[in-house]
Symmetry: C2
Subunit: 608 residues, 2 copies
Amino acid sequence: MYRTNTCGELRMTHVSKEVTLAGWVQTIRKFGAITFVDLRDRYGVTQLLFGEELTKQLDENALGREFVLQATGKVSERSSKNTNIPTGDIELNVQSYQVLNRSAVPPFTIQDDTDGGDDVRMRYRFLDLRRNAVKKNLELRYAVNRAARNYLHAQGFMDIETPFLIKSTPEGARDFVVPSRMNPGQFYALPQSPQTFKQLLMVSGYDRYYQVVKCFRDEDLRADRQPEFTQIDCEMAFVEQEDILSMFEGMVKSIFKEVKNIDYSERVPRMTWEDAMWKYGNDKPDIRFDMSLCNLKKPGSVYTNKKDQNALISDAGFKVFDEAETVIAIAVPGCSEYTRKQTDEITEWVKRPQIGMKGLVFIKCNADGTYKSSVDKFYNEDRLKSIALATGAKAGDLVFILAGAEERTRKATSELRLEMAERLGFRNPTEFKLLWVLDFPLFEYDEEGNRWVARHHPFTSPKPDQISTMIDNNPSIENASEYLSHPYAGIKANAYDMVLNGNEIGGGSIRIYQRELQEKMFAALGMDKEEQLHKFGFLLGAFEYGAPPHGGIAFGFDRLCAILGGSESIRDFIAFPKNNAGRDVMLDAPSTIDGKQFDELQIKLNLK
Amino acid sequence: MYRTNTCGELRMTHVSKEVTLAGWVQTIRKFGAITFVDLRDRYGVTQLLFGEELTKQLDENALGREFVLQATGKVSERSSKNTNIPTGDIELNVQSYQVLNRSAVPPFTIQDDTDGGDDVRMRYRFLDLRRNAVKKNLELRYAVNRAARNYLHAQGFMDIETPFLIKSTPEGARDFVVPSRMNPGQFYALPQSPQTFKQLLMVSGYDRYYQVVKCFRDEDLRADRQPEFTQIDCEMAFVEQEDILSMFEGMVKSIFKEVKNIDYSERVPRMTWEDAMWKYGNDKPDIRFDMSLCNLKKPGSVYTNKKDQNALISDAGFKVFDEAETVIAIAVPGCSEYTRKQTDEITEWVKRPQIGMKGLVFIKCNADGTYKSSVDKFYNEDRLKSIALATGAKAGDLVFILAGAEERTRKATSELRLEMAERLGFRNPTEFKLLWVLDFPLFEYDEEGNRWVARHHPFTSPKPDQISTMIDNNPSIENASEYLSHPYAGIKANAYDMVLNGNEIGGGSIRIYQRELQEKMFAALGMDKEEQLHKFGFLLGAFEYGAPPHGGIAFGFDRLCAILGGSESIRDFIAFPKNNAGRDVMLDAPSTIDGKQFDELQIKLNLK
């Protein structure tokens, strides 16, 4: 061992002990004839004092930043203590030292507020990982991993490894594939998730399974997506939705306690998908703050159980509202005194192509009880007041109203709500609010193919009382324009998402476990019998030999860590992430392979 | 929840409680008007009693083996108890039941001694996994996983995930590669191990790293190899060999304690590679029994520090020994009374092509103190006695002597030693003997390329006092026939293997951490500068920024579990293994992919 202690360990109780430390040179400060060096390792920083003799040696062979140094000496009390670090009471009076390895000058400073840009830090990720900010993230990641495992173990779950070289069954996302040398012309696929395997394990009787496991999706990478990512993957047999909700609510609370020392004791609220969309325009609402949507107008074909408040805005001759499918308002707290410049800026913001609205109507609810609006021409103060009250606005608030096509307007209002919350500091990264979103639609309509696609995945069960709706009806859509009136459009999934601070951190469902229903599902998705058997014959087969009722959930581990760490970026919580082109710039991967590899795999390039 | 209790849980204390169980029908026995059903789940088996009324119902809708059943009733004391199972005192007096799912007749019985052959069990692996024998293996695997993690956590190790989509740098084994759609013409590789990443983590200052991680090698599969396998992968910084040995000796002992309740308190013995080869003909000797090799004759070029006992056999006019490079004997306990038929059979055994010897000489050390040999013509009884004594044979033992070329003869003797031990029951699967094998040669000679190859891997450091031998000498081999006299031939690696019962369960080394030495190593393996930079530029670069001394080890997790489970086959300890052609016969993978996938990846087949 090159050391007797770590650089984070020494205290006053160690004074006059002889110790050896090893670590990296953080800083070098020369004061006349003596030299101070801050030595850093994973555990902390300790000040080394080099006396006159050794300082002379240092003058001949200068140390540099990030040199690897081993130093032996006596621990002594510092004359001027540093209360900012745990080792600040002492220093090491160096008697001898050895440079274990030299370092070139690093391309950026190894500090929390580094001068290195993203590119150079990724290229030299091994140096970036030395920074305390990054180390804290990986430590948090390990703590979450450990807390999840401990909870699941205590609950009788078993970690069972599922294979990585599996069969390509692209449904939705693209598979990464792996040519098989031993089976020329054939390919393995890397798993998008262990979904079918964990279901087989339920058929096999392992009624509580978990894995912290890498998954792979060959998708065009939007910001903050990675081609390989990690899931906490879980499945249980002989359970209903309620059992899963309470089990995994428990897991996340246990992680909060272990990792953040937060007692999250209140029951996690539950919201149907329909309510979430109605109240927040979003299936993963951030409920740290209110600003819920006031649905002034909506088309008859959607949210058929909900009532809009069209009377508040109709018959005013305001064509924008009259001609819009949907009109939605939100009340933004404390912003009634926004200047023209500010409201203009927000109007521009909603007109950006990513949001896509044509304009923004506002009502200022002034502190003196008066109302002032951008549509005063059409609505008198009484009507403005009624609208404002409907949104829940109080004196001092600012009401924003968006109007347009249903889907776009709802989404835009949700985006505006989040944007205003961000600006107003309502999205506090140290506050955590969990939410279950339930009762998703089982199917989504795919316009292009005039067919159904599974909203969650093809293994999700409908609600028990809707199984017969699914079995008894023909899935094909005769009249594309009236797809909403097809019986399948109303089927709800026995599925649930866990939402944390406006991010989906986990999602799952009760699964289909009857062959007939599973075949009907595949058929609804446009798979004929042959394709079903080719892709999922093993699963259909398994359902013939006593498959139990079962369900599960998978948590996005990278995302969960990022949110707990108060960050929006999962990359910061992955030791060796890839960039948006799927490249590892440190390794320079992917890269070319050699002719022998092509020969052995019996493939060749076919570049366009 | 479909149950209130599991099938392994109910005891006398539960009598007269109302409970609901759910599980699989193991057996159905009808006795007149009543029916007994054994219901099985992951936790055990409970007897269900169906009274007259329910038995009538059963007559109408017969249950079958492996049906999934939910039954509610009162727990009652059995009239005739079954002491073989923990629930044998009670039974469930069924009041109502529900068939949750039916089952076709399984293709083999779900029992320890199943009637299913290997092929059908692999095809229906989801049923095979229901068998208690397989379940016990997966439970043991999980227990080992958990014990290893707990130990490493307590020792301050951090689980840090390394990437799966990396760069192809084939050295030795072949990489599996993954075409990149986003970077046409380029490929990722799947990691053969996280070797370079864990070294980078040491450079980054994470001085204790571990991972239980999948690794991939595209090799022709010998029996009991898998294309994907799991390692317990570990690395430490600021350590020397001694630190690693004691840390991981501790880990394995902790696994023994946690998983098998074995107190393995004695220090694990250590043996140099040279001694292992000299005494056992094998670099992973099984030391549960002795039968060590008696080196009667060896060529001068190898084991130059060891002395053979050629005087015992020379000058007898026995050409087989005189002309052989190597002559080795072992004493097999208690076999002096082997018949001619038995010795003939063993002679045939050593002549099999896998062993490849031309014949076998034996000396019977009779109980009466006389000696009888197959070479009486050449050696009188005194000489036979001397040879026998040299082997350590006692009265009643049988000495076998093999002669031939050095490498083959040594290997054959080792094989014969293991074979005889197997036949004599010396390889007791419930006895565990650990061993460290140290000081491997750093290089092996590759005849075909007349070059050096790394015995462990290219990142292994030579012994500290031999670094200069490596730096100061030119690696190229002028004279192929005298490669043994090249300075590199004598360099020992700072490497270690952990051996358990004759199996290598873990191996590792102290690593090179100096760029100059690493470049010299790559050069010795025949890599020019350009290739070095293309393949390992990131690592060479990292060594310029303060790489600390470091080393590590990786355990073959599948193998470790198999040995602890008393089995020779790793397949039994993998939930979804592949067969010897690398196929998953349950999934039918690998398989063809569709034209769209080829198009998107811009590759095509080039079948021979």
